[in-house]
């Protein structure tokens, strides 16, 4: 392996795509390098995360008091619509596309993605629909105010009467997002299926790649439904068709089916790669193999399959007959079994290990604890009679924020800290990382736990004003939200300063096992001089089996190439 032979000079001649600028400017080009695209995705997504988080903090400011007094009701409704939309379509999806883009080729021993140009196009659509959504704040009538689910008929009510209105832009953006995600999914699925290094059979592939594959398969079968639903709604809104408009004989509940047929599995698109991150992080910092690796890997695909048949649980209180509610209650409950398998496997991985509580491990453990809580409240929500009480209350909001903040954002932070040295060649500052973890963990629980009791008491979600009996819990939640806002500061300080002038990290600071850790940090263009030959399963901690073959002829070729 050439990169292990020449150590310091390698650090200077990093990265550049031939002919492309060898500095930060490459991140603003139409680069086809999967590592550049990965970082483009992650940074873009994080900018929108901060933006949508700011919207959430304004909302929590409004909810400090029962009365609607900080912003107008229309503004509040616009805020929660855009908060949800931006967080899903411009934070979680692009962020996970970024992680997958960066890591999958490295982990499977490929030089790039299968379709590098398609990859770049898929990314550059993200800023396009991001700008469309941002611009919608400034059109007459403001942005969409019908929630990120955009149920008709509210989404078809157009008080300005203009053709170009917030809802119109919203639908265009969502359709574009769907196109971008489908492009990304085709690319990632093809890459994983076709471009694994020699010797990397399915059960030698890291779990992160398994989970990304499972997630992207969902994009392939689910997104057409959402995109079709969005286009039909767009027609209803602009040219007066009547797919969903009850006044003209359309069926608004049909839209809900279209919407949730994708948007429930979309939750698994978001959470599955985070399961992958947990599966990568725990073995490294517990110094133990992933417990029951093949089962953990396969259970991702089971979640994909089951995720396709549970969408009606979002509609237990909607226009659905009793038999449908019961059927989907049972299917929803079954999905907790493969998820439970994973949780127990992670606990068993950590158990009896030689644990190091570095920042990535702290975030992964914190994320796992919050995920367990979210999973349990999720089962309660799957129970139809109970859901009839808490459906559309803050209990649901609390539940899914434990998923998307507790598990997904924490898992994302775990991933960023874990692979930061690989991506940048620099090490972050451990103290700031741990401070970030403490603030995030306290902030997230303070923000999202009070939503459960207040939901049980009967506070509906999406309200700009509420009855005084809910004030206590709402004040707590708002405090947590502001703390979460503050918690991003040490993170930004940490990554920006260490990216610029952090200590050099070396190729494998965590002594982790995996192909991505065998190349330099950051990896050279096209990653591998010589495609490695994989000979053993991942996570061989505590053993002495090598991960890749070291045949003499390979050594020879490596020397002279």
């Amino acid at each position: 392996m050439s990169n292990t032979l020449m150590e310091p000079p390698v650090q200077e001649s990093l990265q550049p795509q031939p002919g492309a600028p060898d500095n930060w400017k490459r991140f603003f080009t139409f680069s086809t390098d999967h590592k550049v695209i990965g970082i483009q995705y992650i940074v873009t997504a994080f900018v929108f995360f901060l933006f949508a988080g700011l919207l959430a903090m304004i909302m929590r400011g409004e909810l400090l008091t029962p009365e609607s007094d900080l912003v107008d009701r229309t503004v509040y409704n616009g805020l929660f619509t855009m908060h949800g939309t931006l967080m899903l379509f411009l934070w979680t999806f692009p962020m996970l596309s970024g992680l997958a883009n960066y890591l999958v080729p490295l982990q499977i021993g490929a030089r790039d993605m299968a379709f590098p140009r398609l990859n770049a196009v898929a990314f550059w659509l993200v800023p396009v629909f991001g700008i469309i959504l941002t611009v919608s704040f400034f059109v007459p009538g403001g942005p969409s105010q019908s929630g990120w689910w955009a149920y008709p008929p509210v989404s078809l009510q157009n008080p300005t009467g203009n053709l170009i209105n917030g809802q119109f832009l919203w639908l265009v953006a969502v359709a574009l997002s769907g196109v971008s995600s489908i492009m990304g999914a085709v690319n990632i699925v093809t890459t994983i299926i076709r471009m694994r290094a020699p010797g990397m059979g399915w059960f030698k592939m890291p779990v992160f790649c398994w989970t990304v594959l499972s997630a992207q398969l969902i994009q392939l079968f689910g997104l057409p439904a959402l995109t079709a639903g969005a286009v039909m709604l767009l027609f209803d809104l602009t040219v007066g068709t009547s797919f969903f408009n009850p006044e003209l004989g359309g069926d608004p509940v049909l839209y809900q089916h279209f919407f949730w047929f994708y948007s429930h599995p979309a939750v698994y698109v978001i959470i599955l790669p985070i399961f992958g991150v947990f599966s990568e992080v725990f073995p490294v910092y517990a110094r133990k193999p992933l417990f029951g690796y093949p089962v953990v890997a396969v259970s991702s695909l089971i979640i994909t399959a089951l995720g396709a048949v549970v969408w009606v649980h979002h509609m237990f209180a909607s226009g659905t007959p009793g038999w449908m509610r019961m059927l989907f209650m049972f299917s929803t409950m079954t999905i907790s079994v493969p998820t439970g398998i994973k949780v127990f496997a992670w606990v068993a991985t950590v158990w009896g290990g030689k644990i190091r509580l570095n920042t990535p491990m702290l975030f992964a453990l914190g994320g796992l604890i919050m995920w367990v809580f979210a999973g349990i409240t999720g089962i309660t929500l799957g129970s139809v009679p109970f859901d009839i009480h808490v459906n559309n209350t803050y209990y649901v909001v609390g539940h899914f924020h434990y998923v998307v903040y507790g598990a997904v954002v924490m898992g994302f932070y775990a991933a960023i800290y874990h692979w930061f040295p690989k991506m940048t060649g620099r090490m972050y500052y451990e103290g700031l990382g741990q401070l970030h973890f403490v603030l995030t963990f306290i902030g997230a629980n303070l923000n999202f736990f009070p939503m459960h009791p207040v939901g049980l008491m009967g506070m509906p979600r999406r309200v700009a004003s509420y009855d005084p009996e809910f004030a206590f819990w709402n004040v707590l939640a708002s405090m947590g939200a502001f703390l979460l806002g503050v918690s991003t500061l040490p993170f930004l300080l940490n990554v920006l300063s260490s990216w610029a002038r952090g200590p050099k990290a070396g190729d494998n600071p965590w002594r982790a096992i995996g192909l991505e850790w065998m190349v330099s940090s950051p990896p050279p263009h096209e990653n591998f001089d010589e495609i490695p030959v994989v000979v053993s399963a991942p996570y061989g901690y505590g053993g002495d089996e090598p991960l890749v073959a070291s045949e003499p002829e390979k050594e020879l070729v490596g020397e002279y190439s």
Partner: protein
């Protein structure tokens, strides 16, 4: 030898002790869970609270079991500072994996069956009054009403939702009201309809909720069992003044209920106060527009009876 055996035993004692503590805490939380809800004002609420209590117990058992194990590892299984060795290379344990697949699957099936039975009983409970239109599970089972419904002895109370007001209409007495009145311990039959967008009929004290779909009439029934005045909330997002679209339900004795109907029928319809409409008018008077365009609220409902006392409710 002796010490090793002692250690082994102590280990088991600690595990059993922690397991018992977990069970005790979970059972206690399950009991506490009843206090997290509004008052139990319907027969359905008792069933749902029981179900939630069971789920709280099981959920706590799992949550504290899993997090307790993790915390134990985090505290007691840390690697010493300069220790670079690996942990034991345990790759799996078939028996353990089968257990944690089968046991949760059984628990889940159990919860699903308990939920199924609860849902079934919610529909059967309170047999007073006919089943609406011969539906198997009339409660929360919306179907479009047959065109010519026979005028039964108990015509359902019509619930009209609109942006943004609630109006309750008693067809037999031809009484309209912005406050829903129901006799205690009798099956309440409602027919939900919306004039514009999706709304949701939600009474937290009853633990029941049903989306109202424009273009459909949905029959809905339940049994109030506790006198009092409770909140009716719009639960499905309905646009700008959604949060203000609230009303009340009054559960009273059969006599009081009849008296109220007679009294209300004698009153001539007047325009009721309506929060959405008033806020909208005020925002129109404000020269500086701070919000975006909105759908105009419908004019306040004209009803026989209104009571907009915002304070007195449980």
């Amino acid at each position: 030898m002796y010490i090793r055996r002692w250690f082994k035993k102590r280990w088991i004692v600690v595990i059993i002790g922690l397991a018992i503590a977990d069970i005790l805490v979970s059972v206690w939380l399950g009991q506490q869970s009843y206090r997290w809800f509004p008052p139990q004002a319907s027969a359905e609420s008792m069933l749902i609270d029981d179900l939630f209590s069971i789920m709280t117990t099981i959920g706590s058992l799992i949550f504290f079991g899993v997090t307790g194990t993790l915390l134990y590892s985090m505290i007691f299984q840390r690697a010493p500072k300069y220790d670079t060795s690996d942990g034991p290379p345990i790759e799996g344990n078939l028996k353990l994996e089968v257990i944690w697949t089968v046991v949760p699957a059984l628990v889940i099936v159990g919860i699903a069956f308990a939920s199924y039975q609860t849902y079934d009983r919610m529909a059967v409970l309170g047999t007073i009054g006919p089943k609406a239109m011969g539906m198997q599970s009339a409660n929360a089972a919306p179907v479009e009403a047959p065109v010519a419904a026979p005028a039964a002895a108990n015509d359902p109370i019509e619930v009209h939702a609109r942006q943004w007001a609630w109006e309750f209409y008693y067809p037999q007495q031809q009484v309209s009201s912005t406050e829903l009145h129901l006799p205690i311990d009798q099956r309440a039959l409602l027919r939900l309809s919306s004039e514009d967008v999706l709304h949701g009929f939600y009474v937290p004290a009853f633990r029941i909720k049903q989306d109202i779909i424009p273009g459909r009439e949905i029959d809905f029934e339940f049994t109030p069992i506790r006198e009092g005045r409770y909140r009716v909330r719009d639960s499905d997002y309905s646009g700008t003044y959604f949060a203000a679209n609230q009303s009340f339900v009054v559960v009273e004795s059969a006599d009081d209920y009849q008296d109220w109907l007679t009294m209300a029928a004698a009153q001539s319809p007047t325009s009721a106060p309506n929060r959405a409409y008033e806020e909208f008018k005020r925002s129109r008077e404000n020269p500086i527009g701070l919000g975006w365009d909105t759908v105009e609220p419908a004019a306040p409902p004209v009803v026989n009876y209104d009571n907009s006392d915002e304070e007195a409710y449980e």
